[in-house]
């Protein structure tokens, strides 16, 4: 059925089969979206990283197709956002129908002045291929295909792996293991680690079809449409004239039977019309679960992505949250590996991303309760909301066909310095940086000037050259980015031609924001104070006692 030409990545015989290899700093297991993102981030920092994957190609089938603005922003920092954004279909409007009537419509990014759209739709195989290309361009990154981890043990000072290949088995030792081996996580199973949560009793059919159509690039969701009564249907546009149709089937559906073209075609014809011309590219029947590991850090093992948490697909919170996991993890791990901070900083990866996973699980479970009501009364309330939504604006806010992925606000993080000064707006400590158009040495967008390392964003010329140099040359360096004013060799200066940086950050002369390497706000002040910035940096790296 599929017309995609899947790459076959070359297996290479590992040198460890002939002689013991070196002890490694960090190994990543799993070359999916999350593992590759982690490895690229590490390698881009110059940290040698080995990636092991038991397969030799990308995702079979389009699978995860909705990549969020935040994912694109993270990948921009990692040098591979543009090919993905350019290849994908951007969208921001979602429409929800009951029957054939529009019940509710939302716009996920109603304002302009952001580099990236709310979402792009792109087949997971294209997404992964772009990451593999970026990975292969980084000398510090080694990718090993068809290398399967068969055993993991860890102690306080190391992780030991057994790896199987077609030429034989070998052993590896490393300081840190990032586990991104997916929903079924063989490593989680090997170690007998918990994975608590609930399985939902419903089945869904995904059909990717090739069809020339000028339907707009919007997310469209139907409750109880005439072409699929009593169930829901979701439609997304992908590149290459591919459309994703997701049919709710109910728990009693036979997954093997429903995958057959003779069952799928009548469903599609009912939806698209008897005369519609299309071909099926890929089809799959899935169920879903909402569950997570109790802890994402187990000593020297760091779990991320689907290996650590699973949500329903309504909301695009799977791959997008996994990429935020490793965005959160890698800068902390890099500081630990450089010996600059205590390994306890990695516990904040656990705390922050468990909180984010709970937010995703809460949203995902709520959507699921609306789409798949678990009782007759739940179904009645759902239908009541949909009936009211036709006439009454208040009910449209209750319609839940999926609350789409937005970056977690780490408001409760111990790494934040609480506000002492008054600010208007939404950029509270813990929030991910809002983008804005700028003129500056790193391009036309604010986010390109933030991230990678700590950055102090200063409105106006309040920071003396000596203070800026002291921040840049500290053991944990912090770059100054100044909004407006004269340039200096100790800082980047950005212009704010539309005033949107000042507007979005409530920036006034003297205002300073401290951003973590993952672009989250961790402190802010109305005036620069070198001591306060040093204390906030110490707190943000897990050493509040120095603050």
């Amino acid at each position: 059925m599929s017309t995609h030409n899947y790459p076959k990545y070359e297996y290479r015989r590992p040198p460890e089969l002939d002689a013991p290899g070196p002890h490694r700093g960090v190994v990543v297991v799993g070359a999916g979206p999350v593992g590759l993102t982690a490895a690229i981030d590490l390698a881009q920092r110059g940290i040698p990283v080995l990636v092991l994957d038991d397969d030799d190609t990308v995702s079979i089938g389009s699978r995860a197709i909705c990549y969020s603005k935040r994912t694109l922003e993270i990948l921009d920092r990692l040098g591979c956002g543009e090919p993905i954004a350019a290849r994908g279909v951007g969208w921001k409007v979602g429409k929800v129908y009951q029957g054939n009537e529009l019940a509710y419509q939302f716009d996920l990014l109603p304002e302009t002045g952001h580099r990236r759209p709310a979402f792009v739709n792109l087949q997971q195989y294209h997404f992964e291929e772009a990451l593999v290309r970026r990975a292969n361009a980084l000398p510090a990154l080694e990718l090993r295909w068809r290398h399967r981890v068969t055993n993991v043990t860890y102690s306080t000072d190391r992780v030991s792996l057994a790896v199987a290949t077609e030429d034989g088995d070998y052993a590896l030792a490393c300081d840190w293991l990032i586990v991104c081996d997916g929903a079924r996580s063989p490593i989680r199973h090997m170690l007998g680690l918990d994975f608590e949560g609930q399985v939902f009793r419903d089945r869904f059919l995904i059909a990717d079809i090739r069809m020339a159509s000028d339907f707009p690039a919007e997310r469209r969701f139907w409750f109880d449409p005439p072409f699929h009564p009593n169930q829901s249907v979701l439609l997304h546009r992908q590149p290459d004239d591919i459309w994703r149709v997701d049919f709710q089937l109910g728990w009693d559906a036979d997954p093997e039977l429903e995958k057959q073209p003779e069952r799928i075609l009548p469903r599609l014809r009912a939806m698209l019309g008897a005369d519609a011309r299309f071909e099926i590219e890929w089809a799959s029947v899935y169920t879903f679960q909402c569950r997570r590991m109790q802890k994402f850090r187990h000593g020297r093992l760091l779990f991320a992505g689907d290996a650590a948490h699973l949500v329903s697909p309504f909301g695009a919170r799977g791959a997008n949250s996994g990429i935020q996991d490793v965005d959160n993890l890698v800068w902390k791990l890099a500081l630990v590996m450089e010996g600059k901070v205590d390994a306890a900083l990695l516990d904040t990866y656990n705390d922050e991303r468990v909180a984010a996973a709970d937010e995703n699980l809460r949203n995902s479970t709520r959507s699921t309760d609306f789409i798949t009501p678990k009782s007759a009364i739940s179904r009645t309330f759902r239908d009541a909301v949909l009936a009211l939504a036709r006439r009454h604006p208040f009910a449209r806010r209750l319609v839940n066909s999926g609350r789409l992925s937005v970056p977690a606000v780490l408001a409760a993080s111990t790494l934040n310095t609480p506000d002492a000064d008054a600010f208007a707006g939404t950029m509270v400590p813990g929030t991910v940086a809002a983008d804005a158009p700028v003129t500056g040495p790193r391009g036309a967008w604010l986010l390109a000037h933030l991230g990678g390392a700590f950055v102090l964003l200063a409105f106006g010329e309040g920071i003396a050259p000596a203070a800026a140099r002291a921040l840049a040359e500290a053991p944990i360096p912090c770059r100054v980015v100044q909004v407006g004013g004269a340039a200096g060799d100790d800082r980047d200066v950005v212009g704010d031609p539309e005033g949107l940086v000042a507007a979005r950050y409530d920036g006034k002369p003297g205002t300073c924001y401290l951003f973590r390497p993952d672009q989250h706000v961790c402190a802010r002040w109305r005036a620069f104070d070198a001591k306060a910035v040093r204390a906030a940096l110490a707190r943000a790296t897990g050493h509040p006692e120095e603050a």
Partner: protein, 68 residues
């Protein structure tokens, strides 16, 4: 935040009660359930106050017994 009003607050209680029963006249159980659900949602939005809504939900659940 205001508290849930449980003292008499409806001017002519018998009129209200009659209208509530009439609302369901000639409806099937399923239709009645839908009307009730819509009514709850409309009133909940009118009240708006999350504390009052939670107090009302708790009061409604009182004396109904433990879940089976």
């Amino acid at each position: 935040m205001s508290a849930l009003v449980t003292d008499p607050n409806i001017a002519i209680p018998d009129d209200f009660y009659e209208a509530l029963i009439l609302l369901h006249r000639d409806l099937t159980d399923a239709q009645s359930a839908l009307v009730n659900a819509k009514l709850i949602l409309l009133l909940a939005n009118h009240i708006g106050d999350a504390g009052v809504l939670r107090a009302a939900m708790a009061a409604a659940r009182e004396d109904v017994g433990a879940p089976l």
